[in-house]
Every structure is written in structure tokens, then in C-alpha cells.
Symmetry: C2
Subunit: 256 residues, 2 copies
DNA sequence: TAAATAGTGTCTCTTAGACATTATGGT
DNA sequence: ACCATAATGTCTAAGAGACACTATTTA
């Protein structure tokens, strides 16, 4: 009976999609040392990695890296595989962004795209630039990507959505850690936040981050074996205390 | 040249998915008046609407309502259509939850499901119970749905994820408004929050919500034409001030 | 008048926010 | 000695948190 039903089920009765790719918005925070001045914070910029398409459709246009999902993997698997292909590395923060399914968004047919965003380090992208010599690779600031380039498909919308999301995550989670070494100073952290969210201003940042009860627990100071606090003067004359993120992710509420 | 490429492009070169449905976790907050006592808050419970499947696969099991996306609509359109079909109403909060694509999750083939969650009012679900007499419809508490029922597909995971998400949204956004009349008392609001997030405790709720600067702006008291504050004694002996949500959505940050 | 819920008073300790001041090392 | 950045001091106003207390209505 159940077998009968199963046999009578026709999986191709309706029109089905022509493909389900995973596209990845790869963010990186470039870090350029300022040679003219010593002991100062590097210049940081938030950039997104794009590749120039070689084939129809949108040949010659810049687009997000991505690839089609296969039958034996989940969308997340496909994105992980794609990220690995592009960077040569397994690591990096990879997070689902959303689905893009507006009819007609892809001239190849009914293609439903799943967007992810990844936070990778700059050196990971050099891998791609070296290996895939045929495909042109570019790193663009968000302003360039959103205002100056003519992107393929609806990738402009995807990048815009990803930008909103990464800004939100930067303020509400500890993803800032993805853009920092394990040990960092508070001005580095502040700079990273401001690079991703330029509107963020907090005059008493050091004091607040170290003294507020609700924030206690997301950072801890770094100490050596004897329990002495460690500091660094890499970016400043006076050495600055080093901090690291704990495993705590704070839970915010508008009512508390 | 570009036309050549287009003609040579074979959209069916690879295996493609067999269908892309939208499934909806429909939450409702039931409200039962307590007849024994007068002037008291109703009993509220968070419930999820499920339908009993009639056909293979998982015939006889409880499952989320849903339907396949068509070529001429986006996934969100499909979910909107589905919500309308189930409730007979256009309104209600509908929000994307995520994609479920683990290989083998659907015995019918390669089927990639998109989950949404909706917040609807209880009366909206009576429509379905009346119209679709063939399909059995049920309202279950989250405990029942997650711990007692044997659900179809991976709908257990979807409901669990939706539950986490609605709890998060309840604390970080003003979706509580979806479960309240336009004008409500603060104890009603408190009860709604606690019904969705039982862990939420806030002894000085009235004072905090009305006096904290960071929260100022999400609620405003209701006044009549002459500017007199309005109150209600529907649920209490002493009349309570009525409030309404404003259009402000607060922005939270762990660093501020 | 008792019961039930709404809302305020009060007190202590912590935090916010704005600036001024001191500290530490490099040039 | 001077500069740049790190970090603390200081002061006021506001909020957190806990509990006791008063207010307004119905039964």
C-alpha cells in the first residue's frame, strides 16, 4: 500500500529548478602598515572578494564566487567546499545569509541561489590569485562594490544584504575576533569595529569594555604563567594591555 | 558570440533538485479566559500548528504546512501564498528561517526545503480547520511538538530552530506586538514575553520599561483626544495604563 | 473589608558620559 | 624634552535591583 503510493509518486510531475548554487560574500579586513609613522595602528579596510566571469551569462562582469550544490551534499557543504576551493583553507567564519529566488534573476533558467558570507584573512585570498590564473580576482571596498561596479546577477543586492548583516553581527556578536589575532589591544578592537561600522563611536571605550557588568565576560586580559598581565607596544609608544575573547556570547534584550 | 555561448549552455547538464518547497512554522499564542476567577489575565500558551499528512511519504504523521514553490514566484511569495491558503488571511508576521538541504531528508528525491515562521492569531487557524475538512489540523504546545510527537521529515529540527529564533526575536525586537492588541497593559506584555521565553524574569518590569532611556521610544502611553491617559481594568481590579508600540526598533550592541 | 493587581518610594550600589590628568615609552 | 597613545581620576546624573509601601477597584 505504502509501496504502491511510493511507486505512483512522480517526482518530475512539476517543473523543477535548474540549479541551486551557493554564492559567498567573502569579506576580509586588509591591514596596511603605515611606513611613514612608526608605532601606529595599521590602516584597515573592509573589502569583498569578487571574480570576473569568463562565460555567459554576464561574461566580463564581476560576480561573487560560488558553485552549484550537488545532490550528495547540503547547501552548507557546498558553501564550505567552495570556500575551500577559493582560499585553500578550511577555516574561517562561514555563515548562511539567505536565499535569492526572484524569478528571472538568472538567464540560465530557474536558479535559486543561496548566499553565505565568510570572514577570511587577506593571505587566504592570495592562494586563489596564484592558483586560478585564468580567472581574474579582485578585492574591492564596499563602496566600490556597491556604488561603482556593475555586478552580475543580483549580486549587488546580496552584497548589500551581507554588509548590513556583518555590521549587525559586529555589534551584537563577537565576530570581531575573526579579524583579530588571538591577543589584541583594545584600540585594535575598537579600530576593527569602526572599520566595519563607521558610525560606531564610543569615547570611553576602554573603560566601558573593562568595567561594565553586562559586558564582563566577553573579554579577559592575557597573562603569562606567573599571572602577570601581558602588554604590547607594537602599535603605540606606551605598551597596551593585551586582551582575548572568552567563549561567552552575550545575550541582548531590549527589555532588560 | 554571446548568443553562441548561450545556445551551447545546457541547463540540464547536471542533476537538478526535484523540488523546492516552503514550509511554515505557524506560531500562535492561545488565550484562554479563566472563568473561575474574574479580572485576571487569561492563560496564554505558545502553540504551533501542524497538519496530519495524508499521503506518502510519512502518511499519518504530523508535519508543517507547506507547498512547493513555482517557477514564477520567489520562495517568499510561495510562503506568503501558503500562509494565505492556511489562514485565509493576508496579514501576519512572516519571516524567513533558513534552508534545509541535508541529503536524504525527503524520500521523494532531492528536495530542498525553505522554512519560514509566521505569527498568527488563533482565529486565523479556525479558517483552515473549517475549510480543509479532509486534512486534520492540530495545535500543539512546543513541548508536545518537540518531545512527544513523531514528526515527518526533519520538521522536528525546523521547529526547534524556529523556537530558538522566536525566543531571540521576542527579546531583541518588538515582535511581541504580533501577539497583542494595539493597546495593551504592561502586565499583558510581560505575560506574552514570559510565555514565549519562560526564563525571562524582570521584577521591576514596569519601572524599567517606562523609565530607561535606552528603552524610551519603543513604547508610548495611549491617550485620548484631550490628552488624558487611557487605562483598562479588563484584567485587574485597579485599572492599568494602556501602552502601544511605537515604530522604533532599538539597535542593540554588546559594546555600548 | 479583604483580595488582587497597579504603581510609587526609598535606599544602595553601579554605570554613563564628559573631561582632565597622569603614565609610559619612542624619537 | 616632546610626542603619541594608554590608562586612570573625578564629578554629576541616571539606572539597576531589591523590597516595602500606597492606590484603586471588585467581590
Amino acid at each position: 500500500m505504502s509501496d504502491n503510493e511510493q511507486q505512483s509518486y512522480n517526482v518530475k510531475k512539476y517543473r523543477t529548478p535548474d540549479g541551486v548554487p551557493a554564492d559567498i560574500v567573502m569579506f576580509t579586513l586588509t591591514k596596511r602598515e603605515r611606513k611613514t609613522v612608526t608605532k601606529t595602528l595599521p590602516l584597515r579596510e573592509l573589502k569583498v572578494m569578487l571574480i570576473r566571469r569568463k562565460k555567459w551569462p554576464y561574461a566580463g562582469k564581476w560576480a561573487l564566487p560560488g558553485g552549484f550544490c550537488q545532490e550528495d551534499e547540503s547547501i552548507y557543504d557546498a558553501a564550505t567546499r567552495e570556500l575551500k576551493e577559493e582560499t585553500g583553507v578550511d577555516g574561517g567564519h562561514l555563515e548562511y545569509l539567505g536565499v535569492y529566488s526572484t524569478p528571472g534573476r538568472d538567464p540560465r533558467g530557474w536558479i535559486i541561489s543561496h548566499a553565505f558570507f565568510a570572514l577570511v584573512e587577506e593571505w587566504m585570498l592570495e592562494h586563489r590569485q596564484a592558483s586560478d590564473d585564468a580567472g581574474e580576482v579582485g578585492l574591492f571596498t564596499l563602496k566600490e562594490a556597491l556604488e561603482e561596479l556593475d555586478l552580475a546577477f543580483d549580486h549587488h543586492d546580496i552584497i548589500k544584504d551581507a554588509y548590513v548583516r556583518i555590521q549587525q553581527q559586529m555589534l551584537q556578536t563577537t565576530i570581531a575576533r575573526q579579524f583579530l589575532p588571538r591577543h589584541f589591544t583594545l584600540s585594535e578592537l575598537y579600530q576593527v569595529i569602526q572599520t566595519v561600522v563607521p558610525e560606531f563611536k564610543e569615547p570611553n571605550f576602554i573603560r566601558k569594555i573593562t568595567s561594565t557588568r553586562s559586558r564582563q565576560g566577553i573579554l579577559q586580559d592575557v597573562r603569562d604563567e606567573e599571572g602577570n598581565t601581558l602588554s604590547s607596544n607594537q602599535y603605540s609608544q606606551r605598551p597596551a594591555q593585551l586582551y582575548m575573547f572568552t567563549d561567552n556570547e552575550p545575550l541582548l534584550s531590549i527589555y532588560t
